[in-house]
Each structure stands twice: as structure tokens, then as C-alpha cells.
Symmetry: C2
Subunit: 477 residues, 2 copies
Amino acid sequence: MAKEKKFVEAITSMDEDFAQWYTDVVKKAELIAYSSVKGCMIIRPNGYAIWENIQAELDRRFKETGVENVYMPMFIPESLLQREKDHVEGFAPEVAWVTHGGLEPLQERMCVRPTSETLFCDFYKDIIQSYRDLPKLYNQWCSVVRWEKETRPFLRSREFLWQEGHTIHATAEEAEERTQQMLNLYADFCEDFLAMPVIRGKKTEKEKFAGAEATYTIEALMHDGKALQSGTSHNFGDGFAKAFGIQYTDKENKLQYGFQTSWGMTTRLIGAVIMVHGDSDGLVLPPRVAPVQVMIIPIRQQQEGVLDKVNELKARLSDYRVKVDDSDKSPGWKFSEQEVKGIPLRIEIGPKDIEANQAVIVRRDTREKITVSLDDIETEIGRVLETMQKEMFERAKAHRDAHTTVALDYDEFKDAVANKPGFIKAMWCGDRACEDKIKEETTATSRCMPFAQEKLSDKCVCCGKPAKAMVYWGKAY
Amino acid sequence: MAKEKKFVEAITSMDEDFAQWYTDVVKKAELIAYSSVKGCMIIRPNGYAIWENIQAELDRRFKETGVENVYMPMFIPESLLQREKDHVEGFAPEVAWVTHGGLEPLQERMCVRPTSETLFCDFYKDIIQSYRDLPKLYNQWCSVVRWEKETRPFLRSREFLWQEGHTIHATAEEAEERTQQMLNLYADFCEDFLAMPVIRGKKTEKEKFAGAEATYTIEALMHDGKALQSGTSHNFGDGFAKAFGIQYTDKENKLQYGFQTSWGMTTRLIGAVIMVHGDSDGLVLPPRVAPVQVMIIPIRQQQEGVLDKVNELKARLSDYRVKVDDSDKSPGWKFSEQEVKGIPLRIEIGPKDIEANQAVIVRRDTREKITVSLDDIETEIGRVLETMQKEMFERAKAHRDAHTTVALDYDEFKDAVANKPGFIKAMWCGDRACEDKIKEETTATSRCMPFAQEKLSDKCVCCGKPAKAMVYWGKAY
């Protein structure tokens, strides 16, 4: 009975309490479990399978651009972390320190990597001598640790999974090009694969990565109107190379410093998918990222011939990721399970359908029921999955556009923050003081200066001085 | 010039100094680099690509048996590690301890996982209530840390990559079946995919895993006659379940303890491949695991039409993992690079070959040169790769058999250890005292009691008392 109860318990309404809705979905869809390690989560099979699909697709896209995978140690000696001034200031307050190995205290303590720029620099120094050794285009898939005070599944946890790309180039131009290339790769991936529209732009000085010359970001809008930074790409210029002494001899036999980038995406993307696409009944997964795309649910499965037909159907649909639920639960129960887990389509098929040579396809997002002939079902499933992927993107984009407000002066800005959840587009003078004031007074932060700039007015929304850039602002996760 | 020098430097002869040969190969094939973190290695693209192939193949085989991937935290609170007595005794002396998070000392210190049984137990306790929840068949791909004093690339390092499978079952029989199933999966994988013959067997009480009722192992023989434990599978019985209170209600509504297994393979397999197949010129990769299977090296590539033909050939060979080396190095230089990296085949093709509508295929293992018509080259490449995979296995097996000695008494045993590098098959009474004595006096350890038992004599090779089992003994990595 304890098990039965789980599914009939309602998921908290997303309009009443979005945070609780999120937690309910994450748990009921069995994406994570809490562990005895405070602030760290267990990623369960349903959650990890989403991550595997994200990994496979990103990895393929990285490799198409010449990136190679490597693996660096998970520990960073304290002296190595301290080599680049801004970087250590940014990360030292939130790392976990290893002080003992076995029964002995370490001579020098080491942190568990919060990110691996310093390790890559140390490696570059050994392997780069000449311009012929450049560029190096590396990536690693691993977990990192940041000792956060407040944690939430997928969105912010003390340990999380990610990929971190690290490249080094002969020139500043090449590094800048790679930084933007990877940001655009991230954006295309989010839009094509996760059906999640993003704003591409540059972070302000205040918000950029510790040690970077420039940080680019993609920002997505969640269903509740809060922004989520979904991927970042950093241009380090030659700052790290100077701190670590990474030099190469150029074609004229002169010593030059290398120019570096790094870029990362994390399991946070799973949180984004939940909060962009989920609904009152649970998770809704875009077909391309869904571990199971189609669940076949037999009706009156005990009746002769039904399960045979269902298995035959499954075999015919081998181009898709299909499962059959032939457990002894009731069909209604199975529908609820498929819905809470966000499986894009279900196929209902029973004796009457078989007699009529048809089946019923039900879309998870719209609940639309489509009766299709069994003769055409392979192509129909493909068509419906494609349509669903496209419409999920369009719906998320329409939601974002409907939740983006232009503010021309500070009163409008404050009103928008207070009453209109979503992005706020407003002009900015470029001064840190205005950014700080806005954050303090409204809790909205600058999300990015989008690549697609618009001139909304001549004046900074905060101080009224001449504006330098349009900025997307918002409350953020 | 520094770069040129690297390749012409000879690799140390494997007969003179096998350990130095190994280090030379690992470095010249660019599999790893040393890092600033003592005892931890950097896995470079050539090494990591081998691991990616191992991962993909193992992961596919695991999933075929119903295993699902998950991800558990990398930290284990000290109190959790201590819950199972034998387990903590086995691991506590060699773990790394985290004592501070950010600027604060932790209330309870945590170790970086050396293995994750305790975390899985803690998880099972929350998710298993009824027999309907069993079995759970989990696996994770991650890195683990063991604070080793002596380290060697791939073979023993403070951090290494692995997979750890963890399952829990309703009955002891099911757990035993899964333990052996995974050991056999490992053995088949090593033989089919890595062309590496292995002995399948059971560890003695002395050599079993900390906390296990039984440990099964596969043992491979390296070229120098030393054994390498290449994968293990453990049956925990209900020991962990009792220590952690993991109980379920069975069909009769009675409370029962669960029965658990775990099984793991690591980046050590890359070391095994090097030491089983490598030769005086470097690495030799079996075709199935090789990241690049065929390197096409054009001859007189500046001559018109050569590179066109080469690219056409590459396109035709898209069923295989093929690269073209059209850099401005000399062909001889390119041959050396391909050889040291262990790429199974090279295709040499120049103007004369093109005129004769042929190419020359050279096998890395035997140096056999095969002239083939360009008309049949797709099938020929497939055939040669298959033959090479098969012959590499057979050669390794013949080497192992030729380096396996039967010892009927202790003098023969000591003579074999001293003069005949390889496995020693000998009978054993089952007493720990004999095992300890043999280890102390000869440095040979019991590798396993093979599933395929033979009765060599009635008497223990050491004490002469009645024998209980035949054991494979050897010096080991």
C-alpha cells in the first residue's frame, strides 16, 4: 500500500508553490534521492539516463569541432590553485580541502577541483614548446565540488557532474573565436536538443568568471519567470599563461604566451529541462533527450494475442527508444507513471484496436490523442515526435517572450521586478555602481549583454547617464 | 629539433628492463603525463580514447543484462564508512580525508570514496521495502581514490577511473548467480575485445575483498611473466544488509535481509593491454579497442592526384576508424609514429600503387605486408583486422601457456618462481599458513583457485598435507 500511495499523492501545484512542485517532480519521477552526504545528491537511473543522452550528444558535437577528451587529477595542491590571483580569490572560499592521505597528514593540503584551469595550465606548460603544438582542444567529463551553503537538486549541489573544455591557442583572435564558437554550440544544443530557447550574450565585469577576460553565457527562462544560467564560455586572454609561464616559440623563433579558453555545462541542465517543460502532472521530456520516447501500454493484456501484438509493435519501432509496460498494474496506473516520468508518447492498444488495425497515440505535452493505422505507425510515431520537439521549443519561446518586459526608467524596472516575473530588458551605463544598486534594491541581477543588442533608449535605466549597452536582467537561480 | 629527437630515441628493450620499457611506451605513445599531484596521472587523448572504447563496450554489455547507471556522491562520512567492520579495516588506512569545506572545519570528516558499497547500502535502505523492489542492478562510472605509497601509470595510482557495479537481490542464490555472471562477462570482454586470455577463478580467504563472502577474479599474464588481476566480482551475502539494516518484506509478508554483490574494472586494463601486446617498438593495440584502426600514409603526397586518391580511400573505409597522416613529416617518420602508438594497420599508397590500382597494408603486430587491389580494399581491411584480433589473442594465449609451470613439490615451486617467469599451478591444503609461507619465502601470491580445477597430486605443494584445491600462483603487479 505504501507504494500505491506514492502515485496518487498529488504533485504540488506549480502556481501555488513552484519550489515545492520542482522538488515533488524530481522525487516522483525518481530522478534523484537525497544522500547522507549533506548537499550531495544521488542521481537515480531515470535522472542519469537523461544525463547520458546529454553527454552523448554534446560529446559528438565537441568532437566534430576537433576537441579531444582527457582526464586530469581531481585534486589541486593549494600552491597550484593560488598561482592566478583572481581565480584563487573566486574559488578558495568554496572548496573542500583534503588534509590527510591514509593515516598521515599531507605536507601540502589539496582541494577537490572546483574547476580545473590550474591543472590544465600546469599540463600545457610541459607539453607546449612550439607553435606546432598549438592549438590544444581538450575536454573532460567529471565531477567537481563547490561547498555551497544552500543546495537544490540539479540546480546547486556541493558535487555536480559537468564537462569542462579547455583550449590554448597561438593568438588572442583564435581564442576569442573558440570562446564564441563553444557558446554558440551550447546555445544550438539547448535549442535543438532540449527544446529550450536561450539568450546568448556577454556577462558584465561583475558577473564574469574568476580569472577571465570575458565570459559569455546562455540564459534560459524557467516557467516561474526566473532565469537560469545554462552554460558559460570564458576567454582568459594570456592571463593564465603569464601566471603559469606557458610560452611557445613562434614561426619567427620568438617566445610568445598562449591564449586560453574554458567552457562548461553541468547536470544543472536537467533542472532546466524540468522547469522549462514540466507541468502539473510531472516531468515532460523533449523527445530528443528522453531516455524512453514511447511507452506502449497494452489494454486487457491478459486477452489472447494482445501481448504478441504489442511485442511485434515494439520490434517494428526499433528506430525509437521504446518500452512496453506489461506489469500487472492497471492501465490507469501505468498512464500516471508514464506521465509523471515525462515519457513523450504512449501508445494504447487493446483487443478492439487490434481488431480495427489501429492504436491510439497520446502526446505527453498536449494530451492530444491520435488514432493511427497500424500500417503507418512507424512513420506516424516519427512525425509526432518531431512535431512535439518543435512545438515544445515554440511554446517555451512564446512563454519567454510573453515574460520579457522592457523597462525604460527605474520605476518601470522596479514595477517589472515586483509584478512581472521574467526577463527585463533595460539600458545600462556600464557602471558597476548601477548594477550593485539594482541588485540590492530589487534582487534582480544582470544576466547578460545579449549579442543581439537593441537601442531601447539613450539612458541608463538606473542613473539616467548615457547608456552603453542593453542588458537582460532578472531574478535567477 | 627537440621534437624530432623524441621519436628516434629508442624505447628501452623489454628484455633488458621491462619496467622501463613500460614507462617509455606509456610516455612515447602519449597515453599519460605526470602531474603536479603526486601519484595521480593525466590521461592524455591517446590514452583516454582507449578508455572510451572500453567504457562503451562494457556499458553496452552491462545494459544487456539489465544494469542501470546511477551516480553516487564522491564523499563518504566517516561514520558511514565504519558501519561494516571488515570493510572499514580494509580501506580506512588508504583513504584521503576531507576535513574542511570552504573556510570552515567539517563537523564530521569525510573520505573520498575508495569504493562505494557503504553509499549504495545507505541508498538501498531508503528505496527497498518489498520483494517487488528487488533486484536492483546498478552501476556507476567514476573515479576513486586510494592513497597508495608506490604508484605506476594505469597499474596503481592514487586516483583511478573505473566502473563499480552494485546489485541487491532477494536470495543468496540470485546474488551468487549475478556475481559469477559479471565475472564471466568481464572474462569474455577481455578475451573478445582486448584479445587478452584470462584465468577465471575464486580468491582465497586471504586475498578476498574487505567485507565479501567470496571474491571471484580474472587473472591475466603479462609479457614479463607477472600476473595482473584484471577484474573482480564480489558476493557479500547478507553481511552488508545486516550491518546497514536493509530489509524487505517477502511474499509471505516476512522481513528478510537483502543479498548484495559488487564488481569492478578499472583503467588498469589499459596497462594490461600494453603489457600483454606491446613490443620493442611500442604499443600494439588489438583492432577492436584501437581508437584509430587504420592510418593511411601517402607516399609522395605532393604529387598530383595522391591526396585525392587517399581521401577517396578514407571515405570508402568509413566502416572502420581511419585517419590520414598528410602532415609534412617524412613517410618513415610517420611509420614510426603509427608504430609507437600501436595503430593496428597502416596503408601505404603512392603514385606507383595508384597506377597499379593497389595499396600496401602493413600489420602492426607481425609487420606482414599485404599488397591488395584497390577494388577489394574494404573487405580486405575488414578481413585483416579480424585476423589480427584473433591471432593476437592466440599469440597471447600461447605465451601464457608456455609460461605456466606445474609444481608438484616445494622445491619445484621455488625453482619455478626463481627461474620460470609465469603462472605456477600447484595444489594447496587450504590453510592460510601455507599461503603466508609461500608469499614470504618466494614472493609469489595465490592468484586464484580456477573454476577449471585439475588434480595435479593429492598433496599441498607446501606442507604435503591433503590438498583441497589447485591454485594459480605468481608474482603480481
